[in-house]
């Protein structure tokens, strides 16, 4: 607070602010006069700030004298309202009804299993039922049931239930418009805002692909657009497969791409060349050799079974028509 001449201005150097609390704007004045008066008053106030600024102890700097402002004395109103109290959760309501008071618990508890003190929660915590390697069977137990699987299942069920409760409480809080700030930022990704489906986080790749697709939405299909650094070309140009024309083209018709005939020829040649080692049929040679050997053995024994004769491979390739009988007289 400072007294300037005959007038008294209140100067708050912390906010670089000065005002005259006794001044009243005279009514019944023309607009021009009013503007003039306001400017003049403003100049006086700024002058008051400047005067008091230069009375502060200053340090010299390259840019001029530097001063340290005192802390502000005027309290400005806050922009947002005070945070509303959070609506009580289901448990808090229940606890209040039953008169359950929250009590501080020790961070470490005694673990019966290892007979040491361990943390109550978290990694390697005390009395962890998961850490029990052997479960004693009771006569009432169901023999078909895996007790370890059941234990895991139960634990998972409890965790899931807690998560469900948490979300329900958050949903309630959201109704009052009072989500905790850390939840508020991620509220859209939680199933609490009415949209049941959890929104997937968009990965960098997906974003790039979408940007690529969007970039084609110009008259030229994105041909003349400047590409941003890191922007990918659209993944699919639209055409996935190209087929040759359905019907063979007319003699004078234009054909783009490989024709069907070329394509089949290519694949046919590939298949034939892959199997062209049939010229020397090793299997056949072995068969002939084996048959000869067997014949020799049989002639040695001078006895042969009937069934084997029937299956003797033919010398001549089978011919269509009446020669069927002639071709293999031994059959039947």
């Amino acid at each position: 607070m400072e007294i300037e001449g005959e007038k008294m201005f209140e100067v708050d150097l912390g906010n670089l602010m000065a005002y005259d609390s006794h001044y009243t704007i005279p009514s019944q004045q023309s607009r021009e006069e009013l503007v003039k008066e306001c400017l003049q008053k403003g100049t006086e106030l700024v002058q008051a700030i400047a005067d008091s600024l230069f009375t502060l102890p200053s340090t010299e700097d390259v840019d001029g004298p530097l001063v340290k402002l005192p802390p502000p004395t005027t309290k400005l109103p806050r922009e947002k309202h005070m945070p509303r109290p959070r609506p009580p959760t289901k448990w808090e309501e229940f606890a209040k009804k039953k008169g359950i008071i929250k009590r501080k618990k020790d961070k470490v508890v005694f673990d019966e299993q290892s007979e040491t003190w361990k943390r109550r929660h978290g990694y390697d915590h005390a009395n962890d039922e998961e850490a029990i390697p052997i479960i004693e069977a009771k006569p009432t137990d169901d023999p078909d049931e895996d007790p370890f699987a059941k234990r895991r299942q139960d634990k998972k069920g409890r965790v899931d239930k807690q998560e469900k409760n948490r979300l329900q409480n958050l949903k309630n809080a959201a109704k009052f418009g009072d989500l905790p700030s850390h939840v508020q930022l991620a509220a859209t990704s939680l199933p609490i805002t009415g949209t049941q489906a959890v929104q997937k986080k968009v990965t960098k790749d997906e974003l790039g692909n979408v940007a690529g697709i969007a970039s084609t939405a110009t008259a030229s299909g994105g041909k003349f657009d400047k590409k941003l650094p890191g922007e990918k070309p659209p993944k699919h140009k639209g055409k996935f497969r190209k087929f040759p024309p359905v019907a063979p083209p007319a003699a004078n018709g234009k054909v783009t791409g490989p024709s069907e005939r070329e394509q089949t020829e290519k694949i046919l040649n590939k298949i034939l060349s892959k199997n062209n080692h049939d010229i020397l049929n090793v299997n056949k040679a072995v068969t002939v050799h084996n048959v000869k050997k067997e014949k020799n053995r049989r002639s040695d024994k001078s006895k042969s079974s009937a069934t084997d004769k029937k299956l003797k491979p033919q010398k001549k390739p089978f011919k269509k028509g009446g020669s069927a009988k002639k071709g293999n007289p031994k059959a039947q």
Partner: protein, 187 residues
């Protein structure tokens, strides 16, 4: 109806090659003399609603007048192209295979019926077999009077057949003409 793309063609040709061997060339380059066109076209493969047809080019040209959903069939259906990308021969392809077959098996008259009911070919049913059939080759099954009955996959090579016991399976059944009666609705 559309021509086969590259993968489809190679899958179909691979399967046909198992049965007809190098005769596949004849099958693909088979000139057709159907239709009024002056220059004879060829036979070609077409895919319509996951079935593969073998038909002459002139027929294809005329079939383009019919919309895809209305087209029931054209030429000879030789098999199905499955969703998983495999090709299954159906019995309608039998004539095509029989004319160009590389490996053949002839059945005894008393066991023809068993095969036509959809059973595998046992050693005891075997009348004759072409030599150098390898296990896994496609074989066409004939009656003793040279009527094509069906086709299948050789379970044993010719040599192994000689030593097989009478109840052993020689040919695994894939299709037979009995299906025309048994599976009339599906064909």
């Amino acid at each position: 109806m559309r021509p086969l793309d590259e993968t489809e063609t190679s899958v179909v040709f691979d399967k046909l090659f198992k049965f007809v061997g190098n005769n596949l060339k004849n099958l693909v380059e088979n000139p057709s003399h159907e239709g009024p066109e002056p220059n004879p076209g060829r036979y070609c493969f077409r895919l319509n609603k996951n079935k593969i047809y073998y038909c002459s080019e002139s027929l294809v040209k005329r079939a383009t007048n019919i919309a895809k959903p209305n087209l029931i069939s054209l030429g000879t259906c030789i098999g199905k192209y499955t969703h998983g990308g495999n090709f299954h021969l159906t019995v309608q392809a039998l004539n095509l295979l029989a004319a160009n077959a590389k490996h053949k098996v002839w059945l005894k008259p008393q066991s023809e019926m068993s095969f036509l009911y959809g059973n595998h070919v046992l050693k005891s049913a075997l009348g004759r077999i072409t030599e150098n059939v390898g296990a896994g080759d496609g074989v066409v099954v004939f009656s003793m009077s040279d009527v094509p009955l069906g086709f299948g996959i050789a379970a044993k090579s010719t040599q192994d057949c000689r030593k097989l016991d009478p109840n052993g399976i020689v040919v695994l059944h894939q299709g037979d003409i009995g299906e025309y009666l048994r599976m009339e609705d599906e064909l």
